[in-house]
């Protein structure tokens, strides 16, 4: 089977700690947290115990034509904006973009919850007859699970394959992974990959009900989440978007593209059992499969971006899996300590953060990691910023449903 090298020629993210590489790097270097108080709304927030959220609290400038806006909910705005920036950065021509050689792998956890909520409001607040009329013709297009992917294809005239993963927290790591495989095996010459999720209290309520959300730092949002820390008390939901352009190496080289990094491996598996509880056997297997897929040795990995949501058991199981496969050789960082858990966007955002750290030659510390939980202490944690070159990094993400992914990226040389 044909196997081609896959490089990254564009990246962009909208995150709680900034929009675009420069702002994100600045926040990572200065220990800036993007966790803010949960905004008050009449529906759920009064009843949610966790009062913190990874918030995009700065304005994002959009310049989309009405013809495109009409099928977009908030999540598609995020998705199309990062897609636009990635397309511009990649320098790919319109002829290529519309040729069928470029595909899109993009997702969100469930379309636009804001639009879905409006549909339910109409449904439950109206007579049966008027409800049918008041549900807009475009509400489904805004709220369907592949709304991000197809709003991107529509806006930019992309005619290649569409992969719309909707696997919760592994949505965008799958997007990048399946995009990588599409290019590697010659189905597409380039793939625009990523994920997005909009501000949504429904997701907080779900994790809150599962007792998985952080509640002990409501008065000091920046002190949570606390991956691997003794005082960690759960995850913090966040919003945002991330996108990368993956491209076949020879094509990128010949056209003189600015190559930002290389994807060298991907693995995805399932625990084959419980939908929620982390599974040591399953995750350990994922990490081994990733190493095997990349054709490297475990000791070649310099940096691990752990999924590290800061739940009690999740961090321990992940630490045990990392220790079993990689020992204490690689530095380990939990980047959700800056952004919260941006759900469908987290895999892409964390990949972009790793690429940025590779380019700038530093490793950001895990925020709020003050006293390491002794059950996670076997790893090489980063508690202070390190001026440290990174050649190869692994990005780990795990999702409800027992889905596990690992992406391997390498500094391009």
């Amino acid at each position: 089977m044909m196997e081609r090298r896959v490089v990254i020629t564009g990246m962009s993210a909208i995150t709680p700690i900034g929009h675009g590489k420069d702002q994100i790097v600045k926040s990572l270097q200065n220990g800036v947290s993007g966790i803010k108080p949960l905004r008050a709304e009449e529906f759920l927030s009064p009843y949610i115990h966790s009062k913190v959220y990874g918030t995009v609290d700065y304005p994002v400038e959009y310049d989309f034509k009405r013809n495109h806006r009409k099928t977009m909910g908030p999540v598609a705005y995020y998705a199309c904006q990062v897609a636009k920036e990635v397309l511009e950065q990649s320098g790919l021509t319109e002829e290529f973009i519309t040729s069928g050689r470029l595909g899109v792998a993009f997702g969100s956890i469930h379309g636009s919850p804001t639009v879905q909520r409006n549909i339910y409001r109409i449904f439950f607040g109206a007579t049966e007859k008027s409800a049918v009329r008041e549900i807009g013709a475009v509400d489904y297009l805004k709220s369907m699970v592949h709304t991000t992917a197809v709003n991107i294809t529509k806006m930019f005239g992309i005619t290649g394959r569409v992969i719309a993963s909707g696997t919760a927290c592994t949505t965008s790591s799958q997007s990048i992974g399946y995009g990588y495989e599409s290019v590697k095996f010659g189905m597409q010459d380039a793939m625009l990959c990523g994920g997005a999720d909009e501000y949504d209290t429904t997701t907080v309520a779900v994790f809150d009900n599962l007792l998985a959300c952080s509640t002990a730092f409501n008065a000091e949002p920046h002190r949570t989440p606390r991956p691997f820390d003794k005082l960690r008390d759960g995850l913090v939901v966040g919003e945002g978007a991330g996108a990368v352009m993956l491209e076949e190496y020879e094509y990128a080289r010949k056209r003189g593209a600015n190559i930002l990094g290389e994807v060298i491996g991907f693995a995805c598996n399932n625990n084959g059992g419980d939908m929620i509880l982390p599974n040591l056997t399953g995750i350990t297997s994922t990490l081994k499969l990733g190493v095997e897929n990349a054709g490297i040795n475990p000791q070649d990995i310099d940096l691990i971006s752990a999924h590290a949501t800061a739940t009690k058991m999740g961090d321990i199981i992940e630490a045990q899996a990392i220790s079993a496969v990689f020992g204490n050789n690689p530095y380990v960082v939990g980047l959700k300590s800056y952004t919260g858990h941006t759900m469908a966007a987290c895999g892409a955002i964390e990949t972009i953060m790793c690429l940025a750290m590779m380019q700038e030659g530093f490793i950001a510390p895990t925020l709020n990691l003050e006293e390491i939980d002794e059950r996670c202490a076997m790893l090489k944690h980063v508690q202070k910023i390190l001026q440290q070159p990174v050649k190869t990094a692994a990005i780990q993400n795990f999702a409800f449903g027992g889905v596990n992914t690992i992406l391997m990226i390498r500094k391009f040389s």
């Binding site: 013809n67 099928t71 013709a137």
Partner: protein
């Protein structure tokens, strides 16, 4: 309502819903303004609200061949007449 009122309301809808100001009344909507099937459905809803009447599925299907704003006004005028909502002047 009069023909003049219908035309003014259609222009209002195009401005409000479709961000099109001072539209050419005889231009092909698809070619000139990128008007598509989604817009057509939104327009029919706006017409129902304007006339305060429900347009039947059969009547909606008759709108399929509409290409210009003048034809939209003709369509509204016809429905208004059928419901005794129209006055000639």
């Amino acid at each position: 309502m009069t023909r003049q009122e219908i035309e003014q309301e259609v222009k209002n809808v195009f401005h409000r819903e479709f961000e099109i100001e001072n539209p050419d009344m005889d231009a092909d909507l698809r070619e000139t303004y990128e008007f598509d099937s989604i817009d057509a459905i939104e327009l029919l809803l706006a017409i129902e609200n304007f006339l305060s009447t429900e347009i039947s599925q059969e009547e909606k299907k008759q709108a399929i061949n509409i290409r210009t704003i003048n034809q939209i006004c003709d369509y509204i005028e016809k429905i208004a007449k059928q419901r005794n909502l129209f006055s000639p002047a």
